[in-house]
Amino acid sequence: MNRAGSFAEATDAYQLPRLIRLAPNLYAACFTLMKMVPARFILRRAAERGLLDPGTVIVETTSGTFGLALAMQAVHLDRRLILVSDPVIDERLYRRLTDLGAVVERVPAAAAAVAGGYQAARLDRLEQIMAGLDASFCPRQYSNPDNPRAYSTVAEYLVECLGQVDCITGPVGSGGSMCGTVGHLRALLPECRAIGVDSHSSVLFGHPDGPRELRGMGMSLMPDNLDHRIFDQVHWTSPGPAYQATRQLHQRHALFMGPSSGAAYLAARWWARANPDALTVVMMPDEGYRYQDTVYDDDWLAARGYLDQPLPAEPVLIDDPAHPSGSWLAFDWDRRSYDQVMSKAAMSGEPG
């Protein structure tokens, strides 16, 4: 791992987070672009395995930062990249991707109405594109085991800097960052707690699927890389508390991060306050630039009523993740599998 401060490649400089102390027992692990960790690792491994010959086209479905990380790494590797995205892709991100040489395809807006939403439509289009190419490589961040594997570097860095880590809190999307970081860390620290933060209407931890405004976390499809047995507790937040926490992070700590970082901060701060003798690390996946016109705009927040409700001091502890109600919820997952939790929840939901 490079600690010398000079890097042969730009993407290498994105590997490690900055550790910033927010409270005596709370550290933020702030990434400029966390998805670079799996993107770089997956593509370098593919190259080592001979899967990235000069004519091979890298293809992936993404509407977010994973695509940006792939595009940056594709520059170093000098490979073509096709990204399948949905119409809600951020216009500035689109321009940056194409400037890096990526071809970005957007699925039609009508796909949102079909079961599985944009994510299913993107996967279908991805298969079509791959079928039409002589040689292609798809990183498949949702199922590729190299995604969680990549985060051993982050776990190594955390223990080297902090020694003891009692709890890691972070947003969950593909499952790679939380399962990879905590999974590797537990070889050394088996007791380390994992708190996953999800958004409402995400299927990851049993909510019914639905439209989600909060970006950077939550899914409509269950990713293979999500190992539910990692998690001790799961939190869900609606956009309002997540946005307010994001702003507090900026106002109180001068940390300019995205709303998934804010949502994780909300849960981590609550747990760290309740457990002053434990050291908590909160994962913050990306910076706030993409949200300057939304989360960082008071008029935008006010128009949507996000400033009407005060930020709750604590989550509502629920005992059935399948029937959520409230803006900030927590559930003791207790390192169980998805089926274990859901069969129990179904039973407790029975009348009588």
């Binding site: 594997r149 080297e160 800097c161 020694g163 999974g183 590797h184 070889a187 050394l188």
Partner: protein, 344 residues
């Protein structure tokens, strides 16, 4: 194994040049490893490597009696690796102004064989030092490590005694230096499988999974911190984690029982010999009120043999003048392992 010319090697050593009687070398044993697994080198390749747990109280002493007239290298018949080490080392000195052609190696050692305390590395390293000593040369620690791996295929890092290193034991090079010394700790050594003897080279190399490679990466990061911060508690966790991963390859009977026993007595964790049967309960030497006697009693009650209690080494002495034979370089007087061989 006998290589060399026609002369009978049972002859008495021939007269030596004045002032040069023989070469003497010493090497300590070890008490297994703090960690052993696969780690990335600077080029990003995965390499097998380990961090040795030193055992200052035991070691091997080799005496090299040179021959200017024949190429044979003779010595204790069982110690093939030590004789091979002598041959490789002699080859290193072929361009020396007055090289020995062959010679005889005698070894005295108090290192038990086959339980993971590095008896063969200790013999090999002492032999290399003895041959170098005869030639009036002090080899660098890295050079000794390289020769030891040549002679042994896989070697521990007892020769690198001035710092804590991650040693690629099948290549003989250092992947990382963690610091000058280990934090002060007391280690209660025991044999987890009394009577069993393990031949290191008969073990297939552990086939670590990709996930385990990631775990070793985390342990390496923790080790950096533990040694820099003199954090015995963290070091104990690293050693325990490595011991648990190794259970898949060479299981230690009663490992979890010993780990729990150590923790109950205020210990930091457990280190093992990854290719042997010994294990050591790690305690912070600076911690007050450790019930070492009570812990030793419990270990014996559980049916394990207590082998050594390793105390923190005093500050490292400068290397002794190799020309001055050291009669008793360690607290315990060494016992000849094979007196019949030494007497020939």
């Amino acid at each position: 194994m006998w290589l060399g010319g026609p002369t009978s090697y049972l002859d008495e050593p021939e007269p030596l040049a004045p002032g040069l009687t023989s070469g003497i070398g010493y090497a300590p044993a070890h008490h297994g490893e703090l960690i052993q697994g696969v780690f990335e080198d600077d080029a990003g390749r995965l390499r097998r490597a380990l961090v040795t747990m030193p055992l200052p109280g035991r070691g091997s002493r080799a005496v090299f009696y040179p021959s200017q007239s024949h190429w044979g290298v003779v010595g204790p018949p069982g110690l093939t690796k030590a004789r091979r080490a002598a041959i490789y080392t002699l080859r290193e000195f072929a361009a020396h102004p007055a090289p020995a052609k062959g010679g005889r190696v005698e070894i005295t050692s108090n290192v038990p064989h086959g339980i993971g305390m590095g008896s063969s590395t200790s013999d090999v390293t002492a032999t290399i030092n003895a041959v170098a000593d005869y030639h009036g040369v002090s080899l660098s620690r890295e050079e000794v490590g390289r020769l030891a791996v040549l002679a042994e295929v896989a070697s521990d890092s007892v020769m690198i005694d001035d710092r804590v290193v991650l040693f690629a034991h099948r290549d003989g090079d250092v992947l990382e230096t963690f610091g000058h010394r280990l934090p002060p700790m007391i280690v209660i050594g025991c044999d987890t499988d009394p009577g069993r003897s393990i031949e290191t080279l008969s073990l297939p190399p552990a086939d670590y999974t990709d996930a385990e490679a990631g775990e070793f990466q985390v342990l390496r990061g923790a080790l950096r911190r533990a040694i820099a911060a003199e954090d015995v508690a963290l070091l104990g966790k690293v050693a325990t984690a490595s011991a648990r991963i190794n259970q898949r390859y060479l299981p230690k009977p009663g490992l979890e029982t010993l780990i729990e026993l150590g923790l109950r007595h205020g210990g930091a964790g457990l280190q093992i010999a990854h290719s042997g049967t010994v294990a050591g309960l790690i305690f912070d030497a600076r911690q007050a009120g450790i019930d070492l006697e009570g812990c030793v009693v419990r270990i014996k009650e559980l049916g394990f043999t207590v082998t050594d209690v390793i105390e923190p080494a005093p500050a490292r002495q400068p290397r002794k003048n190799p020309r001055q034979p050291c009669e008793n370089p360690r607290p315990h007087a060494p016992q000849p392992r094979r007196p019949q061989a030494a007497a020939s």
